[in-house]
């Protein structure tokens, strides 16, 4: 019984691991195990090194344990006393030195990588500077060199180093794009953090908040869109275009008086108390978690998502700070739908 247990115990993790490798170890745009940029690769290399060392250690311990448990079982007729061994200086030195060597093998590349990760690109002329501000429960991205501010979708040119400056307007959050880089906390002023990463391949990557920040902590998601340099320039320019307003003047008035008192759009002043709405129709998601997907496989069309959100903000993202359009702002269902339609059409070219 012990034998099968031990064998099973050793096989279980291995088969599970094998199964997971076959499954691809998660999504390319999300998994730590499928790094898509140099920062994540550096972490991944260390992980591979440490996992290898640790699996070797585990195999040694498991084999000795299995051997001992099978070989030295007490047999029913055993009466004599086993020899009382005090210890063995040689053996004990051996299993002090070997772990020490293993620790050194891991420590050297660790220290190297720690200092490499500490590289600060904030004075690098070629880097794109982005100020990330965490809010309960959304992300604000300010491109200081371009005078552009957006929310939820971080658009970056592929291959360029992005120099981040991280802070928070309320509680601690942690900025994490698993497939591109490890995470970094957003602290209040005074303990502002800097770090950088780059995304060589164009694509959309999923980002998360990793520090408990309140009820909707799990919903504080964002996307990183890595695009070509030309597309990035185009995006910056269209972000600076004058704000678009709904065509219906009554609705435009409502939009200005009710929405733009907190939100910013286009050239309207940014008050930073709510996400910037410029080009919201082109974003990857509404409120970070309602994924925009016209095929309906992974989400719903943007219009539908906007309606879902505006009709039930508290239900979609519990504890969020947005007043309810109907109850708190007195908008009618038609007005809400009208604004949703307008926002869905507010796209960047």
């Amino acid at each position: 019984m012990m034998k099968t247990w031990q064998a099973g115990k050793r096989l279980l993790p291995m088969t599970a691991a094998l199964g997971l490798i076959l499954a691809g170890c998660g999504r390319e745009d999300l998994s730590v195990l499928r790094p898509q940029g140099p920062a994540a690769e550096s972490s991944f290399d260390l992980m591979k090194l440490s996992i290898t060392i640790m699996i070797v250690v585990l195999l040694i311990v498991f084999s000795i344990a299995a051997y001992v448990l099978v070989r030295f079982r007490r047999k029913p007729d055993q009466r004599e006393m086993p020899e009382q061994v005090e210890g063995s200086f040689k053996l004990e030195v051996l299993w002090t030195i070997i772990p020490l060597i293993l620790v050194v093998v891991l420590a050297v590349p660790t220290v190297k990588a720690v200092f490499a990760a500490g590289d600060d690109h904030s004075n690098d002329k070629n880097a794109i500077k982005v100020k990330v501000t965490g809010h309960q429960y959304w992300w604000e991205f300010e491109y200081t060199d371009y005078g552009v501010t957006t929310a939820q979708d971080l658009v970056i040119p592929a291959g360029k180093d992005i120099a981040f400056e991280l802070s928070t307007k309320d509680v601690l959050h942690s900025f994490w794009v698993p497939s591109l880089s490890g995470k970094m906390d957003t602290n209040p002023d005074g303990t502002t953090n800097r770090f950088s990463f780059s995304a060589p391949n164009e694509g959309v990557y999923r980002g998360k908040c990793a520090e408990l920040c309140g009820p909707s902590h799990g919903f504080m998601e964002f996307k990183v869109k890595s695009v070509s340099e030309a597309a990035f320039e185009k995006w910056v320019n269209s972000m600076k275009a004058p704000a678009v307003l709904p065509e219906d003047p009554a609705l435009a008035e409502k939009f200005k008086s009710q929405c733009l008192t907190c939100h910013a759009a286009g050239d309207m002043p940014d008050l930073s108390s709510a996400p910037n709405l410029t080009g919201i129709g082109s974003r990857e998601s509404v409120a970070g978690i309602l994924l925009n997907d016209d095929t309906g496989v992974d989400g719903a069309p943007v219009l539908e998502n906007l309606k879902t959100w505006l009709h039930d903000t508290a239900g979609v993202k519990p504890g969020n700070k947005m007043p309810d359009p109907k109850k708190d702002m007195g908008l009618s269902d038609e007005e809400i739908d009208g604004i949703a339609e307008f926002l869905a059409g507010y796209t960047l070219d």
């Binding site: 344990a65 004990e92 660790t110 942690s174 602290n187």
Partner: protein
């Protein structure tokens, strides 16, 4: 009444066990609810706020109110017996320690019915834990409940230090102490140095919340990262407060059932001391992503990895204790043997986490959740199960049922690995911890389902254990003195359960594993170190209970001192700190009574001893 006034370490051990078991049950239920919520994506079984309260209370309850008291139960039950003492050094304080722990724990759990449990995570990071972002009284229950419970732990730790230093039987030098006593000794030393840190932290946070101080408020010149340093300079040693006693238990159980002395005793002692020392040097590895900079990250990375060395020494020493022995697979030994590979798995992921650049990815994900559950459940809880099954006959005079014990072991350990092994992969695949739900199609679904099934199986294991206790309690108390037949230490030389004075005559210790040494020299009992004489016993007293009630009332009064009750009398009582004052009067009054009334205790006379 007998139980409320007792100062006997054996009865206090049982009180700790029942109270700890109760809180462990509450923490376990919270865990099951958490796992049910996470069984599928976008589940609506719990709402976000309740979920955050559950994870906060699960962590806090398990660490402070679940496993620590069970450790204290075993330490209380076993240490005086293993060192040949008649009680702990300060029996009165021992009782006080238990009652403050219990009332602290009760206060914390009252939050469930008194308007909101703490919801800022068991680490209560500021600013989330300030009144601005956590508006209910939840975090007040956390700070004040833990403060009161922490008092009990600190009192207990100091008491064990004094007991172990001063009350060892003649001949028991430090290097002849059983490993469990050594582990408890080091644990108590860690408590002595680590608990003042959390005490200060909790006071500062209480002041921020109740008296509007600004220790952690950045906008008023405070520093929110300060809390993290204070918390972890306590919190990391706390991990060793938890795991070292488990190491001690394993070091007792394995030699007994391998019928061999512990391999490399002195290196085990040295490794334990080294682990404790390093435990204080590594707190910032919980804060790699806080932005400490590369120098601090590198230093804390390397110092953390070093802990693997003494821990490795222990693992191999246990394995080589069994080498050449005659291993019996009793329930306690099953748990001890299951502990070794399981804990090793938790240990190696610890080394992986120590590598800061890799930790940028691991931190605050399910990988970390998996790691520390491997250490705390796969290490400590398996260790406690081993210890409970091992010493149950000594504590209660009844052997737990072996068949049910084996069922407990298999369901629990299979459920455990099912629950937590897959969580490593969840973390690596991008699932952050403390999320109340997750979007579908991220490949999290299946692994979460497996994890929840495992948690259910662990629950079944616990139920079998409870059934075992219940059935055993209905049997006559007829366990022999040395029920496992190969007992090596002093507790097995006296009857099960021991008489209230433990040893009629203090034994003379002639080597490591004192009882084993006598047995191998052909003796049936220990050689006494003194003639039979009157035994001095401390008097039972209700004062420790009253003192704790007083602190409990004072704590509640302080917490609600700024509330508007809409009731003139209540408002008057609370807003003028009158309730706080009443509580403190009870506590200090009891102290005064204790100081003024000189209680010499009583004696058990030799005739009475012989009469038994």
């Amino acid at each position: 009444m007998d139980w409320i006034t007792t100062v006997d370490h054996k009865k206090i051990a049982i009180l700790y066990l029942w109270a700890g078991g109760l809180f462990f049950g509450i923490g376990g239920l919270e865990a099951i609810l958490i796992r049910i919520q996470l069984i599928k994506p976008m589940n609506t079984f719990l709402d976000a706020q309740t979920f955050n309260e559950l994870i906060t209370m699960h962590g806090t309850t398990m660490i402070f109110l679940g496993v620590m008291p069970v450790i204290f139960a075993l330490m209380n039950a076993v240490i005086p017996l293993q060192i040949g003492a008649r009680d702990v050094a300060f029996p009165f304080l021992n009782a006080l320690g238990f009652w403050t722990f219990l009332f602290g724990g009760v206060l914390l759990n009252l939050s469930w019915i008194m308007g909101g449990a703490p919801d800022a995570g068991w680490t209560s990071y500021t600013p989330l834990s300030t009144t601005q972002y956590s508006g209910t009284h939840g975090v007040d229950f956390y700070t004040i409940g833990l403060q009161i419970a922490g008092l009990g732990t600190l009192i207990g730790g100091i008491n064990f230090l004094a007991t172990i230093i001063t009350m060892r039987a003649p001949g028991m030098s430090f290097m002849r102490m059983p490993m469990f006593v050594w582990a408890s000794f080091i644990t108590s030393a860690i408590i002595l140095f680590a608990f003042p840190a959390i005490t200060v932290g909790l006071v500062l946070l209480t002041f921020d919340r109740i008296l509007e101080a600004n220790f952690f408020d950045t906008s008023a010149g405070g520093n929110s990262v300060l809390w993290q340093h204070i918390f972890w300079i306590f919190g990391h040693p706390e991990v060793y407060i938890l795991i070292l006693p488990a190491f001690g238990i394993i070091s007792e159980v394995i030699p007994t059932f391998a019928r061999k002395r512990l391999f490399g005793y002195s290196s085990m002692v040295f490794a334990t001391i080294l682990i404790a020392f390093l435990g204080f040097m590594v707190w910032a590895h919980h804060m790699f992503t806080t932005g400490l900079g590369p120098v601090a990250n590198a230093l804390f990375s390397v110092s953390t990895m070093l802990i693997a060395v003494p821990t490795g020494i222990k693992i191999f020493n246990w394995l080589f204790t069994m080498w050449g022995g005659q291993v019996r697979f009793t329930t306690p030994n099953l748990f001890a043997v299951g502990f070794i590979p399981t804990f090793t798995m938790g240990g190696v992921t610890g080394v992986m986490l120590a590598s800061a650049p890799a930790d940028f990815q691991f931190h605050d994900t399910y990988f970390v959740v998996a790691h520390f559950h491997y250490v705390i459940v796969g290490g400590l809880v398996l260790g406690l199960f081993a210890g409970l099954h091992y010493w149950w006959p000594k504590m209660f005079g009844r052997m737990l049922n072996e068949t049910l014990g084996k069922w407990t072991f298999w369901t629990f350990i299979i459920g455990f690995h099912l629950t937590f092994f897959v969580q490593h992969f969840l973390g690596l695949m991008g699932m952050q911890r403390r999320v109340f739900t997750y979007l579908p199609n991220q490949q999290f679904d299946l692994l979460n389902l497996i994890s929840t099934i495992g948690a259910g199986l662990m629950g079944v294991g616990m139920l079998i254990f409870l059934t075992n206790i219940f059935l055993t309690s209905r049997k006559p108390a007829d366990a022999p003195d040395d029920p496992w037949e190969d007992g090596r230490t002093l507790e097995w030389t006296i009857s099960s359960p021991p008489p209230e004075y433990n040893f009629k005559q203090t034994p003379l210790v002639r080597g490591l594993d004192a009882f084993w040494k006598e047995k191998t020299s052909g003796h049936k009992t220990m050689t006494p170190a003194e003639p039979v004489g009157p035994i001095h016993m401390p008097s039972a007293t209700i004062l420790p209970f009253l003192m704790s009630v007083g602190i409990f009332i004072a704590g509640l009064g302080f917490m609600f001192s700024r509330d508007d009750f809409g009731n003139a009398f209540m408002g008057f009582m609370f807003n003028n700190y009158l309730v706080t004052a009443i509580g403190l009067v009870i506590t200090f009054g009891s102290m005064l009574l204790r100081s003024l009334y000189d209680d010499h205790g009583w004696h058990i006379e030799p005739e009475e001893l012989e009469g038994r």
